[in-house]
Symmetry: C3
Subunit: 290 residues, 3 copies
């Protein structure tokens, strides 16, 4: 029986990126659906679960994607609601690569150092990737400072993380420019930049000025970069005593995690690959055993 | 040369159900087209018939689906018109599963008993499945009472059947509620319920009250069921001396018929799998040889 | 690693013709995108180039199609702009079959005779196929008379050809009817008709009246034909001393060229199969070695 991945994409064109990765993960058939909405998704899910028998449903799975993580989460809720008892298939949500990117970034950090009680700052933390990076850092026990342009959005994001990770230690901070961002990175051992493309979050020389900083990860691949001191290709390079990773430096692990996750959907019919589950795959893929 | 099934779906999202079944029928490639209209279908059909040579056209076929049987029939007409002599491919129409479901239901009945001159009542007979179930019963020689909520719609459906099956013996009846439905089932040896989801057509105890009834089939899988005495999972179970089938009890044969039909499209380039042809497949699949 | 062809189609339904040919060219996976616009194409291209590594990008390619050659050319420009250095994939443009049809027609002519300095007239030369046929004749060194219904459009087309083929010898002519077309064919050794479906460009007996004419190709397959003396099935048949090809007579080579071109996309990651490159494939496919 052939493996079938049903791509439910919230954009008007189903992501080519996700389709190529699906094929490279060994999926035999990819069924792409574009412009999927919570209103239209239920009959698509029923089509997936009412054809093959329960014992064969592990050969069918659902991938939720698109450029909006919020739209993807809304879709995921409806997908999970459409299942009936054993009539269910595994589901992965990775709109805009938010989960695989955040998971690869934090697994990269975790590979270099334990994160328990480590002070860590996430810049651009209210976007889809930043929010998930902060969540994963908090779940690893880091003491997270979550920075956004407004205190209101930062607080809301911190609250979301506390709901998902009850033991989370998170404080919210607002920063209007690179200087204010830098102030909120003082004392951090880990800094992750996940701002919008083209937003410079820490200016040149910041790595030197931030004493105590051990690891800096910039997830922005489009110049101007998020951390002026880190280049997109940096992959464990040391600048001024700080281990640096750029977006492309994290990208190899991200791609592996994405492929591993898709492949693992077909091991059972009840996998739900959300942020935490994808992070578990990233940890294994990165060779983290502790 | 690979087999290609071209799915022409009248809905905004091409049915996942039909795509999965196509793959499980052994089709190598499925090309899905959504929101297909009679206005746009001709160039799609030309794309199918003008590529491979006439001798190879049996490796390409068309499946017409979607939630509306009327839209599917309109599409089928245009598809057949778009062919030129030997430049044609096989076609199957099964919008909303109307043909495979009706064919599986009546083949299930036929397997248990000859239907010639047998009094049979179809409830909810003006919907896509009910109309086709009544047509197939009439074609088997049953004396069909076709029941709808209004006499007008019932008469129109009976007329449609007489056009398709000239020798049909069909009478139209109107029933406003379960009690009136039950009155129209008096004397029937076979009752098929094909009403809308959630409409109770015969109330509890009806099977006991209907003397002479031998076989009852309820095609509604969503509670409340169409026949209160029959459960969705019933598969040849006897209740009060009546052999009973629920929607899931018929479902296994329906799925087999669907797959067999898709596979048979590729045996020649001129198959047209409509109600009667799909019923022939259902008879063979059910092992009916007489 | 599987070959993936990404079909970017400018119509609301992605061409079935192009999808079938892709499969018959040996492509493992075809990803079809409909209603693609220059505004939405960049992220689709990024999805294609940011997944597989540069060394593997030759296993992915892009096919641009749809019913409008102008829309296809606009898309091609944006596709080529979206590449970054080695992050690119091979691209073929064949909206409405314009390039493969024109290439097959002129390769057919070239197979029979050298074209250098040969007087040649293209009728209906401002349509997508006619313009490209005229361009390819000019590139072969023929002295081309390019005919349209208005002098203005004919001149613009001649100018376009001079931009693409600097050494081109092209004159523009206007003809309102078959008689005026015939006057512009006087002295031509080659006539190619590429008018709109149903437009008769040369009336019955023209082949006899045109002294010096050696080869006539009519690319219109829908009656009434473009050249009344040539039938759609003619394939190197001689009428009144003139070698004749109809649309179906050229069609076999066109299909082979289309399949060869698609297959050749996967030989490298930097092929751009436009009019001239597709003609090179047509020459090789037709066995022209000089």
């Amino acid at each position: 029986m052939q493996t079938i991945l049903i791509q439910l994409d919230t954009d008007n064109q189903a992501s080519i990126f996700d389709r190529v990765v699906a094929i490279d993960s060994g999926v035999a058939q990819i069924f792409s659906c574009a412009a999927v909405t919570p209103e239209t998704v239920t009959s698509l899910v029923h089509g997936a679960i009412f054809t093959r028998g329960p014992a064969d449903l592990k050969h069918t799975a659902i991938f939720i994607g698109g450029s909006s993580a919020a739209a993807g989460e809304a879709l995921q809720k409806k997908v999970l609601k459409a299942f009936f008892g054993p009539l269910r298939v595994s589901v992965m949500m990775d709109s805009n690569g938010c989960n695989t990117t955040a998971a690869a970034a934090i697994a990269t950090a975790r590979k270099h150092m334990p994160l328990t009680s480590v002070p860590a700052t996430v810049l651009g933390a209210t976007g889809p990737v930043g929010l998930r990076a902060a969540e994963l850092l908090a779940a690893e026990g880091a003491h997270v400072t979550l920075v956004s342009r407004t205190q209101e959005r930062a607080k809301a994001a911190a609250e979301t993380i506390r709901e998902r990770v009850p033991q989370a230690i998170v404080v919210a901070g607002a920063a209007a420019d690179a200087q204010e961002n830098e102030a909120l990175c003082q004392g951090a051992e880990v800094v992750v930049a996940a701002g919008a493309a083209g937003a410079c979050l820490l200016s040149q020389g910041a790595l030197q000025r931030l004493s105590g900083l051990k690891l800096a990860i910039d997830l922005n691949a489009v110049p101007p970069l998020g951390l002026a001191d880190v280049s997109a290709n940096d992959k464990g390079v040391t600048h001024h005593g700080v281990l640096c990773y750029g977006a492309l430096g994290v990208g190899g692990l991200k791609m592996k995690v994405h492929r591993q996750c898709v492949a693992s959907l077909f091991e059972a019919s009840d996998r739900v690959l959300d942020t935490q589950a994808i992070y578990e795959v990233a940890r294994r893929t990165a060779g983290i055993t502790t």
